[in-house]
């Protein structure tokens, strides 16, 4: 047996968990190796000091204090982390439902109206978009209904009035005095019919709205 093997057996020897053969081999090594013998002597004396340490006596009133505190805990169980109402999961699931509703509400609202209840309506004629200069918009709101660039009344407005859905208010607010802004004439021009596109007076300008 070499020193490394002998020192590896110190713990098992102290715990008396080595075989008889290992013990004899270790003792034979100690007889020939003073260093290992001294090391084991120090090892065993250090552990003797640990194992013979006096036991710490508990506080004399530990039982009373533990009982008193346990009674207080029993009276207020939520203070000690006992299982109560699970606020955290409930709050988290509520927040999740709210977020999901917010995200999917456009689709959900559109599908909640039964198809049978929807009035059959004829497709409205294509409304020719109106191009207004920002400077003239305010004056137009005081005048008659919107005029098309050619001076004729826009047929789209009349179609909206005769629509059965018009009886149902879309909003709680009155939109009759609203001003329409065309913010991006380039986008608008892309979908216009060719007749309107050839109209030189219908030049779009970038509108700027300040609040």
């Amino acid at each position: 047996m070499i020193c490394v093997q002998a020192r590896r057996l110190f713990g098992a020897c102290w715990d008396d968990e080595i075989t008889q053969a290992e013990r004899e081999s270790l003792e034979a090594h100690f007889a020939s190796c003073a260093g290992c013998r001294e090391e084991y002597d120090l090892y065993s004396r250090a552990l003797e000091l640990v194992t013979t340490l006096p036991r710490i006596e508990p506080a004399p009133d530990l039982i009373e204090r533990a009982l008193a505190r346990s009674r207080r805990v029993a009276a207020a169980p939520d203070r000690m982390g006992s299982p109560g109402f699970p606020w955290v999961p409930v709050t988290a699931s509520t927040a999740l439902v709210a977020v999901a509703f917010t995200v999917f509400s456009p689709w959900l609202v559109g599908r909640t109206v039964p198809v049978a209840l929807r009035p059959a309506r004829t497709p409205a004629p294509i409304v020719q978009p109106e191009l207004r200069q920002p400077g003239t918009l305010a004056s137009e709101t005081q005048g008659p209904e919107a005029q098309s660039p050619g001076g004729t009344t826009a047929p789209g407005r009349a179609a909206v009035v005769t629509d059965p859905l018009a009886a149902v208010p879309d909003s709680l607010f009155d939109h009759s005095e609203d001003i329409e802004f065309i913010l991006d004439p380039m986008t608008l021009r892309r979908g216009r019919p060719a007749a309107l596109r050839s109209n030189a007076s219908a030049k779009g300008q970038q509108a700027t709205i300040t609040f």
């Binding site: 713990g11 120090l42 250090a46 552990l47 000091l49 508990p58 533990a66 009982l67």
Partner: protein
């Protein structure tokens, strides 16, 4: 424990009386702090009371108690480490060498009882300087006398790891106490 689970106060008092010494001793030796050990021992029994209905019948009660005590002691050690309010190795070496000098010199007129107390104090402080994960295994094995399997259950690590930690802790402790032991040998 079954009686404690149905709110039998006398059974709980008996449980505290039976285990208070071992729990206090374990915490005290791990922390090397008597006052704190009393408070944490009380906390152990309060937690036992709070979770009395979660106790698995058939499990060893002492293992459960030691697990709670070990966890509380570990939390306390970590709290102290965070606060940097812990015994430093340099201070320990200074104290060990002082104790060794005092023990080696009988002309100082120290009483034998006082020497023994100083020696025990030095050993307690040496244990307190062993790293936490080794220290807990060492105290459970060499002070509380638990079997390796029970220590594994308390700490929640495999039995082989328990053995290696205890061996490591014993070697560290031997190195720390070596000056004290050698000084005590000198006439």
């Amino acid at each position: 424990m079954a009686r404690v689970a149905v709110d039998d106060e006398r059974a709980f008092a008996e449980l505290v009386r039976r285990f208070q010494a071992r729990v206090t001793n374990l915490i005290s030796r791990v922390l090397n702090d008597r006052e704190c050990a009393d408070d944490l021992a009380q906390e152990v029994f309060v937690r036992v009371f709070v979770h009395r209905r979660n106790y698995r019948h058939g499990a060893k009660l002492s293992t459960w108690l030691f697990t709670i005590a070990a966890n509380l002691a570990k939390n306390e050690i970590r709290r102290r480490v965070r606060r940097r309010n812990w015994f430093s190795l340099d201070a320990l070496q200074e104290l060990v060498s002082d104790s060794a000098i005092q023990l080696a010199d009988p002309t100082e007129g120290q009483e034998i009882t006082l020497e023994r107390e100083q020696l025990q104090e030095a050993v307690g402080r040496a244990i307190a300087t062993v790293p936490e994960k080794y220290r807990l295994a060492l105290v459970l094995r060499d002070i509380e006398g638990l079997a390796y399997e029970e220590i594994a259950a308390v700490i929640g690590i495999p039995g082989g790891t328990v053995r290696s930690r205890i061996n490591r802790a014993r070697s560290m402790l031997k190195r720390k106490l070596q000056p004290l032991l050698k000084k005590a040998d000198t006439p």
